[in-house]
Symmetry: C2
Subunit: 254 residues, 2 copies
DNA sequence: TTTGTCGTTTTGTATGACAGGTTGAATTCG
DNA sequence: CGAATTCAACCTGTCATACAAAACGACAAA
């Protein structure tokens, strides 16, 4: 069923300079064109998650470009999570996860174009919503797992690294319980940035009761979600973020 | 000067199978390793936006890999907005913009892993926050531009495409006025998805007064931001989203 | 029916080459 | 002496080819 659109790039076509002046990343460059071709190929053939794409060689031949060009296009789409390439296998359509955006945010913080405080503001905004949705839509298993995570956190209170892992799992599970994968994607993308700042906040909690206060905040959130008490869940999450942000500000993270 | 970390990849090293079972995109593959090397290079040398990186050849030689490998690593990082590569120029450190996430969201919607309604829920959550921040932090120029955009929208009411352009500019300007670039990044990333659904909603506004209602919603938002009336701005934006979402639901977009 | 084997396909990596663009320094002119 | 110009070195874009490694599918054997 060779029903793919026919788009023969005449090798000697010298008629493609309409307005390639504005953005150098738009249409100039063979690789960018092939990337666009691959995207339209996915859309026009209605390929879903896991569907296989033509091989690099096939796609390169069909478009009249060399294999390295098609290869770089595949690699670029894999880098943004649209394709899943692997040795020996054909490239498959992938469903993007949080890792790409996590890399981007981590980089943006590193080059000082984004502050931890700004990320926390967005996190607070998003998680005040996910906690509401989660209290309405969570399954019984998710509620139970959430309560277990708080117990895990209490047990791991002496090990910052373990607390961090549990804390991340806690917030991502709430996002998952919101039944909106975009919230999961966005909140999951804060992982790299959270990892870098967690220890600052946690170590500034000198006393045991200060650490217990943080854990109790999580407890209140989990309890409210388990009880499906939406206003209380939102209130508890709000206090949790207030506590965390104030801690970071006092620790000097501006 | 050549102070980069030395990490010679022994060609015949057969001792790297600790746990490369879980994720095929983690450490397997030379390109992935080089991508990681480039990231650590940026971090360790504290390169900021616009800083130049070594050439593909230099980096490839230093790591003992071929140029195509280094090239694909650069290309992958450029695809996610971390690098800015161009013909003739050396690669520079870039500040990521919304285009990458826009591509990802567009793709995720296309493969039916994300619905328009779910995107709208996130948009509503984020923009209820940006409109609050904007009402507090907007400059006088931004307030004036916002009011002008509403006038433009009123003038362009007969041309759906023009309304769409103005509408996008309206929401992105509010995000910019929030003084948090992460909000700009996220809200800007909804452009591709918004473009696809705008016409459905707008065309379902059959009567003139229905279109005017939408424009008046924008007017109320802009007025409240100009007056720095935060609660009213939030209320107006909330009504704007309620109106838009109800419209899409009635149009059958589930 | 299940399993093991083997050949084919596909990706991973390397090498070499050349065209075209960019950059910066040397040069020349005012 | 300063500024515009020219030019050469550098760098990326693209291509062709080759071989290794991994995965897949078909076929044969238990």
């Amino acid at each position: 069923m060779g029903k793919a659109r026919e788009l023969d790039h005449e090798t000697g076509s010298s008629e493609e300079r309409q307005s390639a002046e504005e953005r150098p990343s738009a249409t100039s460059g063979l690789v960018e064109q092939v990337i666009e071709e691959v995207r339209t190929f996915i859309h026009q053939n209605h390929l879903g998650a896991g569907a296989m794409l033509p091989s690099e060689t096939t796609f390169a031949d069909r478009l009249g470009v060399s294999r390295p060009v098609a290869r770089e296009a595949y690699r670029a789409l894999a880098a943004v999570g649209i394709l899943d390439v692997g040795n020996g296998r054909r490239a498959r359509v992938a469903v993007p996860d949080a890792s790409v955006l996590s890399l981007v945010l981590d980089h943006t913080v590193h080059i000082k174009q984004l502050s931890i405080q700004q990320i926390f503001d967005v996190r607070r905004t998003l998680e005040l919503r996910t906690v509401s949705l989660a209290s309405l839509r969570r399954s019984n298993e998710e509620a139970a797992t959430l309560l277990n995570l708080v117990d895990d956190m209490r047990r791991a209170a002496a090990s910052p690294n373990d607390v961090l892992v549990v804390d991340i799992a806690f917030h991502e599970l709430i996002a998952q319980a919101s039944r909106n994968p975009l919230y999961s994607l966005l909140i999951g993308s804060f992982r790299a940035a959270t990892r870098q700042t967690f220890h600052i906040g946690w170590q500034s909690r000198r006393t045991v009761e200060s650490k217990l206060e943080s854990i109790n905040n999580h407890q209140r959130v989990a309890d409210a979600i388990a009880a499906q008490d939406t206003p209380r869940a939102e209130q508890a999450m709000s206090e949790h973020f207030d506590s965390a942000i104030n801690l970071l500000i006092r620790a000097g993270v501006v």
